[in-house]
């Protein structure tokens, strides 16, 4: 891609003179096999400051954060802590020097309790003669949980918490530094908000602001408005280099977008003009559908070419509903008709058979086989169609895969690259390619843009528009209401397992967010 746009403004120099930065990277370089992840990056974080970090998928944000937190070591360049050169040989080393991190991927161990997770790697303070005093540890963990206003027993196993709660626990974990490390802290937040609802985001932001007396923060998010809201100063990264540094007060979303992607934000972000009215053909019909305590009495019709957005908070039953339609949790009451035939989807295989494709929220677990090549992932759901006399037609497979890679503009070195090595947005495109290749008529999109940068999001939106234009029906649950409204023809709101509201959302009739929120809580 293109070379860095502008050198970092010299404003930095003057500021440094005033107070030494709490933490700084000076001319840091980092390479992975085949990837130059960080190119001569210099940034600094001043005491009490919240620094925003934005950039496309793969721009190098997480790599930078991991260098700051001791997970990776730079190939060259220096790390300055309070103006002194230092090295972090490991994550625990960085922690002991006051650097804490909330990782982008969910990083709680689900087989341990919340309390154990919070102090994992940090039990020493509760250890006497090698024996851990669990009572003290859990009491301390309770105090940490209270900080992030999570009302959970620290003895709960982490996998009994939902994603949002886990994210808050991770924050609580990073905040243990407050007690453990002397002096000024730097807390690195890598996309902490991507799984959070607005209310929880508010808690998080309040917490960050309250802590500024003791800590500086780096905040990474793909939601540019949030970055503008929370940060004092913003670094923009592109292709491994810092291409701009600006004060948040003087920046706006359009400008950030331009700096990140190299082109302007399209006025029509959700491609609304491309939204066509859907067809009459009903592909999926739910009639009084019910599943245990999860949801009940769900009825709607999904038409070819329609995007049906489902809004609702955690626990509203929308997650279970999408899992039912994808074949993971068969309903136990009511009727479900696919293309006019009554079905009960007991396994994803049965769902695939009736034309359903599922784009899961946990892309790296359920979406892709990370250790298989791109081509194998694309054809995985429809190998039958590639099989001649029992054998896979590998030539045809290659052709198809290359075709999809081209059509969806998947950025990959080749179709034989392991999916593991693709960026989030490109991984998501491969998931979509898989279902398009299987000729799915019904796509269940579960948070399809989670973790994607604005540019990648736009491409995914465009893709969704394109497939619906060809008659594919979509059921969408999304991270933000804005996205749900922007994309959908119809929006359903669920609360406590039932539909509380349904509204038309075709262009020109888009409902307001506040109206929907009223039905959600």
């Amino acid at each position: 891609m293109s070379a860095p746009l502008t050198p970092a403004p010299s404003a930095t120099a003057t500021a440094t003179a005033a107070s030494p930065p709490a933490l700084a990277l000076v001319h840091v370089d980092k390479r992975f096999p085949g990837v130059h992840a960080l190119k001569d990056v210099s940034i600094e974080i001043r005491p009490g400051e919240v620094v925003g970090l934005v950039g496309e998928n793969g721009a190098g944000k997480s790599t930078l954060m991991k260098i700051l937190s001791g997970v990776y070591q730079p190939d060259s360049g220096d790390i300055l802590l309070d103006g002194r050169k230092t090295r972090f040989v490991s994550a625990s080393d960085a922690m002991s020097q006051g650097i804490g991190m909330v990782f982008q991927e969910q990083s709680l161990l689900t087989n341990l309790t919340v309390g154990e997770n919070i102090y994992l790697g940090n039990e020493k303070q509760f250890t006497r003669f090698g024996i851990v005093d669990w009572r003290a540890l859990y009491a301390a963990a309770s105090r940490q949980l209270a900080k992030v206003q999570i009302d959970a027993d620290p003895r709960t196993r982490a996998d009994d918490l939902d994603f949002a709660a886990r994210q808050m626990v991770e924050l609580a974990k990073a905040l243990t530094l407050e007690e453990n490390a002397p002096g000024h802290l730097v807390i690195l937040l890598d996309e902490p908000t991507s799984v959070l609802e607005r209310a929880e985001i508010d808690i998080l932001f309040a917490r960050v602001r309250a802590l500024r007396a003791r800590a500086s923060f780096i905040f990474v998010s793909h939601r540019l408005d949030e970055v503008l809201e929370l940060s004092d100063r913003i670094y923009v990264m592109k292709d491994g280099a810092v291409v701009a540094e600006l004060a948040a007060a003087e920046a706006d979303v359009t400008q950030l977008h331009h700096l990140m992607v190299g082109r302007s934000l399209q006025a029509e972000y959700y491609r609304e003009p491309l939204q066509q009215s859907y067809r009459d053909e009903v592909v999926l019909e739910l009639d009084g559908l019910r599943l245990g305590g999860a949801y009940r009495d769900i009825s709607f019709k999904l038409h070819a070419g329609e995007i049906l957005g489902i809004a609702g908070v955690v626990g509203s039953g929308r997650e279970e509903l999408t899992r039912t339609l994808a074949g993971f949790a068969p309903h136990d009451g009511g009727r479900l008709l696919a293309h006019g035939h009554e079905v009960r989807l007991r396994t994803p295989a049965e769902a695939v058979d009736v034309g359903v494709g599922y784009v899961p929220r946990e892309r790296r677990v359920e979406g892709l086989v990370l250790f298989l090549p791109v081509a194998a992932n694309i054809t995985l759901a429809d190998l039958g169609g590639l099989t001649r006399a029992g054998l896979i037609d590998t030539r045809e497979e290659r052709r198809l895969a290359e075709d999809w890679v081209k059509r969806l503009k998947v950025r990959t070195p080749g179709i034989n690259t392991l999916c593991l090595n693709l960026s989030g947005g490109n991984q998501q495109k491969v998931v979509l390619a898989k279902w398009l290749n299987a000729q799915s008529r019904i796509l269940i999109l579960d948070h399809p843009t989670r973790g994607l940068d604005v540019g990648a999001k736009e491409e995914v939106y465009e893709l969704i528009r394109a497939v619906t234009a060809e008659g594919v029906a979509v059921i969408l649950t999304s991270d933000t209401l804005e996205e749900t409204i922007g994309l959908s023809h119809t929006v359903l709101v669920m609360r406590d397992g039932a539909i509380t509201h349904r509204t038309d959302a075709s262009p020109g009739h888009k409902p307001k967010q506040v109206d929907l929120i009223g039905h959600m809580v």
């Binding site: 994550a91 161990l109 087989n111 669990w134 009994d160």
Partner: protein, 320 residues
């Protein structure tokens, strides 16, 4: 949330329920089963698998596997037989000899761990190699013969009793206690679970992953050495076949107890239950008069039944 935790509890009790059921059935068929004498014998039969199971549990909790059980045990038993008062040489190191044997066990485990971690070779293969090496070395030391142990202290483990149970059983219970403390009250124990739950995540939390692995293998090696001491005490001799057949019993016991081979789930207490299930099953088979040639088959079916009854299907969505 509380509901979820209760479900977990019940699932981990399931093996115990299976054990009680099994004991009930055997007692119905042969009331001798519940005599004190038989309980002592079951405890004698269980003491070695229990000690070995403690070591293997830690390894399996990490998601690894240890096939060097027999190698470690055999080498330890043989070296012990050469160090304490015996029928082949003039050595009489006594307790000090036991200590040396424990160090040998630790050395075997440490070697496993270091090769596994530093050369990044799957534990399956490293420990398979160590199995051959351990038994081979024991064999080379003995030159094929067997050495009788005459040390009264060692023999006492199998013969002398305290509160009706042989000392070896108390040693095994001591090992259980040590294992429980390590599992529940030390950082090593916690880190072992963490590695089993997700090694990359554990590393991100600053856990020295490689060191934990090496330590766990070393610890397991020590347990196998204790198993070797008990086995030598029980048979009154050291020979190169003393470990034969113990590996699969050990792993079966661990899994029957409900510890997942994929790591992260289970505990040494569950292994105690698993060991008892396996030992009671073997004991009961004889008591119930099952013909020898079908015993192993019946045992297989019973183990399938036991595991089917006691596995927590909710937690283990993926079973490999």
């Amino acid at each position: 949330m509380p509901a979820a935790r209760r479900r977990w509890r019940i699932a981990s009790w399931a093996p115990l329920i299976v054990l009680v059921l099994l004991c009930g059935i055997i007692t119905l068929i042969n009331p001798n089963f519940l005599t004190f004498g038989n309980l002592v014998r079951i405890s004698q039969a269980a003491m070695i698998p229990l000690v070995l199971g403690m070591g293997a549990t830690f390894i399996i909790l990490m998601g690894s596997i240890d096939l060097s059980v027999e190698g470690g045990l055999t080498l330890s038993a043989v070296i012990l037989s050469m160090l304490v008062i015996n029928g082949a040489n003039e050595n009489a190191f006594g307790l000090f000899g036991v200590l040396i044997v424990l160090l040998v066990g630790a050395g075997v485990g440490f070697t496993n761990g270091v090769i596994h971690v530093r050369l990044k070779i799957p534990s399956f293969m490293v420990t398979l190699g160590m199995w051959f090496v351990g038994v081979g070395a024991a064999n080379a030391l003995l030159g094929g013969m067997a050495i009788r142990i005459n040390d009264p202290m060692i023999r006492g483990l199998a013969i002398e009793r305290f509160l009706g149970f042989p000392w070896g059983v108390w040693v095994a219970l001591g090992c259980l206690l040590v294992a429980l403390v390590i599992q529940n009250y030390t950082r090593l124990g916690r880190y072992i679970y963490a590695l089993g739950g997700g090694e990359e995540l554990a590393a991100l939390s600053g856990i020295p992953v490689g060191r934990v692995r090496i330590l766990a293998f070393t610890l397991a090696g020590v347990f196998y050495a204790v198993g070797g001491v008990l086995a030598a005490a029980q048979l009154g001799l050291g020979n190169a076949q003393i470990g034969t057949g113990r590996l699969f019993t050990t792993i079966t016991a661990v899994v029957v107890g409900g510890t997942a081979l994929s790591g992260g789930q289970g505990s040494v207490l569950q292994t105690l239950v698993g060991v008892l299930i396996v030992v009671v099953l073997a004991n009961g088979m004889v008591l119930m008069g099952v013909p020898p040639s079908v015993q192993i088959g019946v045992q297989g079916l019973m183990i399938i039944a036991a595991v089917a009854l006691s596995i927590d299907r909710k937690r283990m969505r993926i079973v490999k």
